[in-house]
């Protein structure tokens, strides 16, 4: 008698999480980890975990390099559309959208002065020149790729993306970016309970954002924006540009980079817009692809 429930969901998830925490560099792992958080991906998690449960005994290598032979049960077309996107580490080719030189030209490496430096940002800094911190662009490139990949996956699954910034200089630009990419923005004064008291603020049955993107983590008085904490409370993953005076700890995908220069912010807006539009185009492509394939067997049956 197969002990299917021997590797029960509870401890297995814990084991998986531990492995993921250790091997954080692998993109696929990070995506898998955060699938659990998104509500829209329930059935994908179910299919992945179910397929893992079918393995006898312990859960093998989600560690880097070792891939288990997963016998996937025959999934319907809709599941194929979603599960295909998880098979490649860079399904949406976001790494082709920018190079390190683009970041340098947009002055992303400029940090604040030494006195404004946040303790937790020290790992991301390359060094300090004439009292001004320089952000390590090699790390920024990696972080940005991960963040854009995650954003693309969210948009692919028709998640709601909310752009947050409190810099008045870029408020209009960010709102326009959000509007043109079909997503949402909030660059105004944040009223207390917009996320935590949503049913009272908006009405019953409201759908909260599935991803929050910060172009400025700090608000007008140089304190951390309330949304960082509220999103963590409401289990909403966050992507954020963290400057050398910001606290990156609560943000799921921090992107160390400059958030004050117009050229840098324009670059970020352009990149986010391109990823989201790319992901949305991909939905249409995949639907056509699988819709086309579905038509073929029908005449034969």
């Amino acid at each position: 008698m197969e002990n299917q429930g021997g590797a029960s969901v509870g401890p297995t998830t814990a084991v998986v999480e531990e492995i993921i925490r250790k091997c954080k560099k692998d993109l696929q792992l990070v995506v898998t980890q955060n699938i659990k958080v998104l509500p829209g991906l329930g059935f994908v998690t179910r299919s992945i975990l179910a397929s893992n449960l079918q393995l006898k005994g312990r859960l093998y290598g989600l560690a880097a390099g070792i891939r288990p032979v997963v016998q996937e049960p025959p999934t319907p077309e809709k599941d194929r559309v979603l599960s295909d996107s998880l098979k490649h580490p860079d399904f949406f080719h976001v790494s082709e959208l920018f190079t390190l030189k683009d970041l340098f030209d947009a002055r992303v490496h400029h940090g604040h002065k030494r006195g404004c430096r946040h303790r937790l940002m020290e790992p991301y800094l390359f060094g300090c020149r004439l009292e001004q911190d320089i952000i390590d662009l090699d790390q920024s490139v990696l972080h940005l790729q991960k963040a854009l990949n995650f954003t693309a996956h969210c948009a692919y699954r028709k998640g709601i993306i909310l752009f947050i910034s409190r810099a008045r200089q870029f408020s209009h630009l960010i709102e326009t970016t959000a509007q043109e990419s079909g997503e949402y923005a909030h660059t105004r004064y944040w009223q207390g309970g917009l996320l935590t008291n949503a049913h009272v603020q908006y009405g019953t049955g409201v759908r909260l954002p599935d991803l929050i993107v910060f172009i400025n983590t700090l608000n007008n008085v140089f304190e951390q924006h309330v949304v960082v904490r509220d999103a963590a409370k409401m289990n909403i993953p966050t992507v954020g540009i963290v400057d050398s005076n910001c606290n990156p700890s609560l943000i799921t995908y921090p992107i160390p980079g400059n958030d004050d220069t117009p050229s840098a912010v324009k670059l970020y807006c352009k990149l986010f817009k391109m990823t989201i539009l790319r992901a949305k185009d991909k939905i249409r492509q995949m639907d056509l692809l699988y819709g086309h394939q579905k038509e073929l067997p029908e005449p034969s049956t």
Binding site: G5, G10, G42, R46, Q179, R188, N235
Partner: protein, 386 residues
Amino acid sequence: MAAGGGTFSALLRRCRRCAVLLPLQTSPTAGWMPSLGRFICSSNPLQKKSMAATFHVNYTEEFIKQQIEEFNIGKRHLANMMGEDPETISQGDIDRSIRYLFPSGLFEKKARPIMKHPLEVFPKQRAVQWGEDGRPFNFLFYTGKQSYYSLMHDTYDQFLNIQIYEDKLREKGLFSLDTKPVNLVGSRWLTKEELAEMLVEQISDYDYMHFLQLLERMLTLPYCSIKEEYVLKFRRKMEDQSKKQKVEPLQLDENGIAFCKGEGRRKTAKASVTIRDQGNGKITVNGMDYLLYFPSLQEREQLMFPFQFLNRLGMHDMDCTVQAGGVSAQAGAIRLATSRALLSFVTEREVEPMRQAGLLTPDPRVRERKKPGQEGARRKFTWKKR
């Protein structure tokens, strides 16, 4: 079992993270299914809805439409029953018929049976702001004040467009500072209430102030005339106050002399005045000459003021009757009555200066009553420390 199956599928639908589908024969207990191993049912915290909010019923559009149809049909039935004409039955007839058919002794009038148009019965609700998939329609929905902030966004768009236009002109070398400004004469900015009505949203004072400041900033740009119609959407015409004055037509008496009557009040005094044309400045008050009736200069100046203002000092004869009030009050009452009477002799262009001089405004000040515990209307008794 069918009921059990129904609740189980409902449970599954709610719990998005259930690991494996079970065959439907098993009887479910929330969370613990002993036969096929442990399956933990966990639901997303975002899915939990508060029970208290469920009594707010959402009236859908189809529901309201259906109610309106039923109301119209019911109206015709009622008319047939009561012997009225179904085409021309009015709301008053409906109310009377309902009161006749369903006599109610209830004290609370709102609890009695009513038959009214559904749009009056069902409260107006803001349409649901998101679609079937839960995605809101407006890109600024999550700010809480979507209409106001999208208005600010659009206005700033217009502002930037003007600046872009100016930059283009500068490139070509055609930029100049002497441009036609937007004509704002005779109009005012819309009030906070009007803005709230326009946006179907509550506006705070600061929001309103910021919006007006943005529009003012836009008007300071030299080339703001290209966005004139956008700005004029937020201006309202001010009505001419002088047009509100009622002007009595001139009457002719038996000798062919034009005359006009006027009435005025001040404090308790009431005056009624007849002004005749082609006179030489004779004024009679209660049958007496005005020099005898008003010995003081101050009161006589009040009588003269309307004529002096219109440069008609020796041209009219005046006959007035005045009751009640004191000396100054009577003089003020006669002055107001005179101005009103003179309106008929005067051209339209002169009415506005008269109004601005205060000749046509009745003085609202009356004697304030004495209050108990005080010596007078405002004066308190002397305060004694001990």
